[in-house]
């Protein structure tokens, strides 16, 4: 990997550099495949599963560390923007890895399994946003050519206040997002090696730091390319294999339509099946009984305890009132399982027209927030500073979306294929003949998968299966009957996805603090070496803080991720886009617009999200949110109010304040033309 060395590069042209990169990563991909085949052979010869987990964890983290050490640097251009010579193709792969987090890799197919059409909001939102990146931001930010997003705000809106607000928003959304990533890293490390969650978090953290700490953006870029290759191979192999088994065709994305039709048929059959109805009725009755008992917990606890003593089952009875109440709460929540299976292919299912319209409104609002958020997350926008030219920045967006697309158009296929296995093979089989993977995963974590014979007929009914979203990706290799080495590969892929995103996010925050706050606002005469050192120490501080928060296991990971998108959308998007496309936008207007956008988003969330509402106002979670919602939009899409408000405030305030000076207007003109040769 001597090609990545800066001195070596100086002599070569960009073309030779690209060719060299292709060769290096070609060998690397081959090496990874050989490594997996060797492990597969070792498995046949009796290598234990735990051992294989350690080998995968150690090998991949050492690899990332190796790239980090080879790319170590103290040069500002290298550290902040990877020397601005990352070719479009490779920047596309790096952006893909930067972009696809644990939520995309593990959570998304599972979300689609559970929600059906509703889950497509994430597929569309997280890809369509790149149209906005391409049309409104990437080429212009590349022409501007500084180091961070607050850099642009500072230059365009003249002064420290716009820059400072930019830093605050960048940290707010990146920190919310990175906590979710580190949580994911901890989970996967625990699965792979069996260490405790707390230790897993810090082991994963070491993997993140060893890379970004030494070489900044340069190291992160080349590691992310390596991580992309691992994660895409790990995602594709099980899906393709499952497709071959089910349809006899190796490209699942083309043929899962027929499986979807079969799933729809099975749904109809299962909705009307008398045994299914029987199980659903049991859940309904249990929930109703629990609800009745919850009205006076102490009295029913005493009564049930006495009854248990009488018939000799007191050993199994709840030890205290608290445990007893939790059991009742669980039974009450079981009411959800009394519903027939949700139709997978139907858009906006609902019991009446009002419910269907509400589902549609929330679907479109979520798509909007995810799209605009994509086009405003600083760790993604920053990547387009690293290409050699505006032209390359434009084509690098195409490559980015292409590499993201490869995974995103496979996820819905995977969800349907796994659903077909569940509905067709598992449902209706006898409990005695369940495949081994069911027992394995039930043992790992009953929240991921548990099948209990509720109506005691010895046959599995769909309503008896309780399934967690994450299992869809994690268990696919076993469902498809592949050797354990592929399961290890999938876990390594999930780890690569979480680590690469966490790297990008931590770097964004560290750079905002060291470059924007320290260098630009506190000490503009600071030498380069001190800035880079400061950025490295900030990286350490932010990483440890995020790990400490992640260890608290904050309530709702999916909500944290979506909140980050809403904050970025409402905070950055209006100010960035108007800054490029409207010369008249003024500094004070941009500051007020950013604050108003983030402010209203935050306010809407803490008033309408059950967890935040409990934290901020102490309102119990059971109180419905509907009365305080605007237009029935749920808190996850709060950005749908923040973005228009941000635009409105910037436009109105700009029109009543004096136009920006000549210098700012010239800056706007210069970013619009890749090379502006003006007659003086």
């Amino acid at each position: 990997m001597a090609t990545l060395d800066s001195h070596d590069f100086e002599a070569k042209s960009q073309k030779a550099f690209t060719a060299q990169l292709k060769k290096v990563y070609g060998f690397y991909t081959g090496g990874f495949i050989v490594f997996c085949i060797l492990l597969g052979i070792a498995e046949q010869m009796g290598l234990s599963r735990a051992m294989m987990g350690y080998v995968f964890l150690a090998a991949t983290v050492l690899l990332y560390a190796g790239i980090g050490i080879m790319s170590r640097t103290n040069d500002a251009d290298e550290y902040y923007v990877a020397g601005r010579r990352v070719p479009a193709l490779f920047n596309g792969m790096a952006t893909g890895a930067d972009w696809m987090s644990a939520a995309s890799f593990i959570g998304m197919a599972g979300g689609l399994y559970i929600q059906g059409y509703g889950g497509l909001a994430f597929i569309m939102g997280w890809t369509g946003g790149y149209c906005l990146v391409a049309l409104f931001l990437a080429p212009f930010l590349r022409k501007f050519g500084q180091f961070t997003i607050p850099d642009f705000l500072g230059a365009r809106y003249g002064g420290s206040s716009a820059r400072f607000i930019g830093v605050l928003i960048a940290i707010l959304c990146s920190f919310t997002y990175v906590v979710a990533q580190i949580f994911g890293v901890g989970l996967i490390t625990t699965r792979l090696t069996g260490v405790s969650f707390e230790l897993g978090v810090f082991l994963g953290l070491a993997g993140i730091l060893v890379c970004s700490f030494l070489g900044g953006m340069k190291a992160v870029t080349w590691t992310q390319v390596a991580q992309y290759i691992i994660l895409i191979i790990a995602y594709m192999i099980p899906v393709v294999w499952l497709s071959v088994k089910q349809t006899g065709f190796p490209i699942p994305q083309l043929v899962y339509g027929q499986q979807l039709m079969k799933v729809t048929e099975l749904e109809k059959k299962l909705t009307a099946d008398p045994k299914e109805i029987e199980v659903r009725q049991i859940f309904k009755d249990r929930a109703a009984a629990a609800n009745e008992k919850l009205k006076d917990v102490s009295a029913s606890y005493a009564a049930d305890k006495a009854a248990a003593e009488k018939d000799g089952t007191i050993d199994k009875f709840a030890k205290d009132e608290d445990t007893y109440k939790k059991g009742l709460d669980r039974a009450k929540a079981g009411a959800a399982r009394a519903n027939p299976p949700a139709p997978h292919a139907t858009s906006f299912p609902g019991k009446d027209e009002a419910a269907q319209n509400r589902a549609r409104k929330n679907f479109l609002a979520l798509v909007f927030c995810l799209m605009v958020g994509t086009a405003a997350l600083p760790h993604i926008l920053m990547r387009f500073y690293t290409t050699p030219s505006v032209k390359e920045a434009r084509s690098s967006v195409t490559w980015s979306l292409f590499f993201i697309f490869l995974l995103y158009f496979s996820a819905p296929a995977l969800a349907v294929l796994v659903k077909f296995v569940m509905y067709n093979d598992i449902v209706g089989s006898s409990f005695a003949s369940l495949p081994a993977w069911v027992a394995n995963w039930t043992k790992v974590d009953p929240t991921l998968l548990s099948i209990v014979d509720i109506n005691k007929d010895g046959i599995v009914q769909l309503a008896e299966i309780s399934i967690g979203a994450d299992i869809v990706v994690l268990a696919t290799p076993e469902i498809a009957g592949l050797p354990y080495v592929v399961s290890g590969m999938v876990a390594a892929g999930g780890l690569a996805a979480a680590l690469s995103t966490a790297d990008g996010l931590l770097l964004t925050m560290a750079n905002a603090l060291s470059h924007d706050v320290y260098y630009k606002m506190i000490d503009p005469s600071a030498p380069v070496s001190r800035r880079v050192t400061l950025s490295k120490s900030m990286l350490l501080v932010v990483a440890v803080l995020a790990a400490l928060v992640a260890q608290q296991k904050p309530a709702d990971i999916l909500f944290l991720v979506s909140a980050a998108f809403s904050f970025a959308a409402a905070g950055f998007f209006p100010a960035l886009v108007l800054g490029i496309f409207w010369k008249r936008a003024t500094g004070i207007a941009a500051c007020l617009g950013m604050l108003a956008g983030v402010g209203v988003t935050f306010w809407y969330m803490i008033n309408n999200q059950v967890w935040l509402r409990e934290v901020f106002f102490g309102i119990p979670r059971s109180v419905p949110t509907a009365p305080t919602e605007w237009f029935e939009i749920s808190a996850i899409s709060a950005g749908v109010f923040g973005v228009p408000l941000g635009f409105a405030v910037i436009i109105i305030v700009s029109l009543i304040t004096p136009a920006p000076n000549r210098q700012v207007q010239e800056l706007v003109e210069s970013v619009r033309y890749p090379d502006l040769k003006l007659a003086k």
């Binding site: 059409y117 149209c131 994305q253 858009s347 549609r360 798509v367």
Partner: protein, 87 residues
């Protein structure tokens, strides 16, 4: 320093292209999304709305970005605002 007429024309062409592509993006995402329930006819074995959400719209997004990048790079050459090539 003044922008020439040619520069103005380059920018208005850029804006026009952006507007057209944005309109396509909007139709694919929000118009199809809004009428998803009505658009559930059979499309090569998929319900159309599901296919669009899971695959069709994604392919169109890539085409939008690819077309923009290609057209803009040509426009740069045509109007003499392209960057100097390295080699």
């Amino acid at each position: 320093m003044q922008l020439t007429e040619k520069h103005q024309e380059y920018w208005s062409k850029t804006l026009r292209l952006t507007a057209v592509l944005l309109a396509i993006w909007f139709i694919v995402t929000y118009v199809v999304g809004f009428y998803a329930r009505e658009l559930s006819f059979n499309f090569f074995g998929w319900p159309f709305a599901f296919y669009m959400g899971a695959q069709g719209s994604l392919i169109i997004y890539i085409l939008i970005i690819w077309y923009y990048s290609r057209t803009m790079n040509k426009l740069d050459q045509e109007f003499g605002v392209a960057e100097a090539e390295d080699d």
